[in-house]
């Protein structure tokens, strides 16, 4: 089920909605690499529920304490990066 040539991340239909930002599950090694320069520890991140549809639509399976990178469209800056910590509840 691939809709249009942009449907790369997953053939899940969720990503085709332009209002759904791109989510990328970070590998454990990448997390420090991304967070250290920002001087932000993992417990200071905003949370995302494990049951969030965006996580379910990922290729990899997310587990609690993982970090996802969210690429959002930004009205003011064009694009914006955010990191969210996966939590169970």
């Amino acid at each position: 089920m691939i809709f249009g040539k942009d449907a790369k991340m997953n053939d899940n239909i969720l990503w085709l909605n332009k209002l759904v930002p791109k989510h990328i599950l970070l590998k454990e090694s990448e997390i420090d690499e991304k967070l250290n320069p920002l001087n932000i520890t993992r417990d200071q991140l905003p949370k995302i529920l494990l049951k969030d549809p965006a996580l379910k639509a990922l290729d990899e399976e997310a587990k609690p304490n993982d970090v996802v990178e969210v690429h959002r469209f930004s009205e003011s800056a064009g694009s914006n990066l955010a990191y969210r910590l996966v939590v169970e509840e």
Binding site: L38, I40, L45, P46, S74, E75, S76, A77, E89
Partner: protein
Amino acid sequence: MREMIPKKISKIDFALMGPKEVRKLSATKVITADTYDDDGFPIPMGLMDLHMGVIEPGLRCKTSGRKMDEDPGHFGHIDLAMPVIHSGYSKTIKDILNATHPSSGRLMLTQDRIDHYTKQIKALMDSDAGTTVSIGGIAKRAIREATKSKSCPHCGEPKIKVTLDKPTTFREEGRKLTPKEVRSRLEKVPNSDLLCLGFNPEVTRPEYMVLTVLSVPPVPMRPSITLESGERSEDDLTHKLVDVLRINQRLRENRDAGAPQLIVEDLWELLQYHITTYFDNQTAGIPTARHRSGRPLKTIVQRLKGKEGRFRSNLSGKRVNFSARTVITPDPYLSINQVGVPELAARELTVPVRINIHNLAFMRDLIKENFVPTDPEKYIPGINYMIRPDGRRVKLTDENWEFNHDRLEPGFIVERHLMDGDIVLFNRQPSLHRMSMMAHEVRIMKGKTFRINLCVCPPYNADFDGDEMNLHVVQSEEARAEARILMRVQEHIRSPRFGGAVIGAIHDHITGMFLLTHGTASYDIDQTVRILSRVSYKGDLPKPDYPKAEGGPRWSGRQIFSVLLPDDMNLKYNASVYFADRTPEENEELDMVVEIVNGNMIRGPVDGNSISAFKGRILEEISRLQGSNAARDFIDKVTRLAVGALMETGCTTGIDDADVPQDALDQITEAQISAVKEVDKLVNAYNKGKFKPRPGRSVEETLEVEIMGVLGRVRDKSGEIAGWHLGMDNFAVIMARSGARGSMLNLSQMAGSIGQQAVRGERISRGYERRTLSHFNKGDLGADAKGFVRSSYKSGLTPTEYFFHSMGGREGLVDTAVRTSRSGYMQRRLVNALEDLRVKYDYTVRNTANTVVQFQYGEDSVDPTKSKFGKAIDVDSLIDEVTGGK
């Protein structure tokens, strides 16, 4: 309080207090209902026992040994003869009685279910993080499930339902349960089932909800007052406790004497009543306890609850000193940064000043000048109090001033009256945004009102129809610095909401500047000097634009205005008076385009599009590029210049400004008649069924849209006709076109026709059956029957028109009333949710828990106050600058 050692609180448990704890907390047992003996000394073991704290000077607390005002007091207790239900928990008691077995006390759930719920609650207790599910919520579910079961799963006995007669009577199949029975049932509930019921057995037990001991609050919490007659008047709480003690005593005596059951029960119920009203004197279902005078007693709940309660009145509603409030009036000669303060207020409001070698002589002069003034007319700040280095306050009086004048020395603090240049906070309610409270510099003035510059009216939303405003004098050096740097009016010229100016020229300032600079307006040397002197212009007069004019050289208004412009300013834009329906060339011809070259205005009028808030281009440019000092200076000078110009030219408007020639009125009538005919034609077509609906609309809707279109056009048309006859020689038109006040629509409604009235966005259609008013035929869909007003405000309305107009007007009023309350509460919730967020030095936005809310402030780290309408860089002007405007 000084001897208290600050300790770090690691944890707080909220729980019911049991009898053991009440006794442990108690400093004394209270047994007698009497308060004081004949000598006015507190009776031991009475309600005013010295163990519970002191309220008289000279006595010492028998528990802590402290004096009055040092001692917060200590609790006492009353042993109740019979147990009594705590009315605040009667609902919880009922739930528990219904969820547990009467004789075994077991929760009526299978062990599996109990374990299930217990596990959930335990997990929640162990986790530190706050969640959306509460322990109470889980307990509630468990209780509901247990209540539903028909019989006890542990022993199989059928269940008997307990009902609650509010507030405190429990019945089982009609039979009353005494508090004693209730208590014994609650006692039976085993600890293992308690967690499920929402009780933590380690700290509390359900039987604590039935009182056996009553805690007596400390005396300082219920002080008695001595009236002028020497009579003592006790606090309401003490009165109530006296009642409790009396009945308690009688109940005990009767019970011990073996009185008849009936009498004991009556007294028991009376005790229950007194204790219930002691907690809450507005309990539903029982009469309120009253004072001898008939006034209802104010008991514990009444002390806390409601607008006059402890929370809203004392904790959220703090009151301050060093503040003043009075009516505001305008003064265009003040800077926007200033506020005029009446002398009367200035002599009450003080600033603490620490004396040092530099200000000693000055302060001495102030003291002397105040008691022996050299010029009684002149305002000289005085000193109300001086504080000696040992902390003693001394009031300066006619008798002691000379002595205090001489002994004043470094280290003293004096409370000096307000004087010119002091910084104060100025505020108008409702304080909806940060510009509702700004810092101003004081100017002492005669009179009794606060004076402000008119340009700061919009941020405060103030006018002068009787508005009052508040003034606060900041007391510390740090606060003064903060106020000056962060809160001064000039720092709020640009709004963080949209990146533009919110403080700018208004009303008369715009009219004045327009009159000064429009067309070929010019001024002779006297006028020019007079106007320029208003802005204290220093320097040579510019070369006159009209050197050869009759009667000497004349200067154009634009030249005079250019004095205020920075030398490097280059701008070209359309003025507010620009004719949108004509070509740019025509407009340039008519002098409707503004051009500024190197700080010289070479054409165009100065109007709303140049100097007003929100729209003013020159103001925008100065405030963004030159900073707040320059912007403040510009606004101040524009104000003065405009007043100067108005003094030379004058400006007036009246009813004759809405005059249009008769043939114009005829044209308007004609246009209206043909429009009404057109409407009739549409209605006829509809009635004959010949009307075709537009896609997506019904026939009726299409008809309405068409009619609205026709009538809307005729309103525009009549406005246009009236507009041709309302030229720029008309002050009302000048005000409307220059953007000072009013609009051309307002004018055409006065001169031409008011037009269609609407309710809920539709032509007026409510009223009687199938018609709006009995003046029309049923089913009439014509223009006049549905709220079209042909008349103008000046000619007056017909009765039916007037009625329709009132309908439309009423809707507007209702809408604003509803909107303000709705949006106000919505905004309040939003503010409460966001108020603790901070932009940290690394540009992340974080909350108080230090978790990230936004990884980069606004996602682009741009301060909107310093942006140009939200954009960090003004690309257009940058390109113009580089290319030289080509």
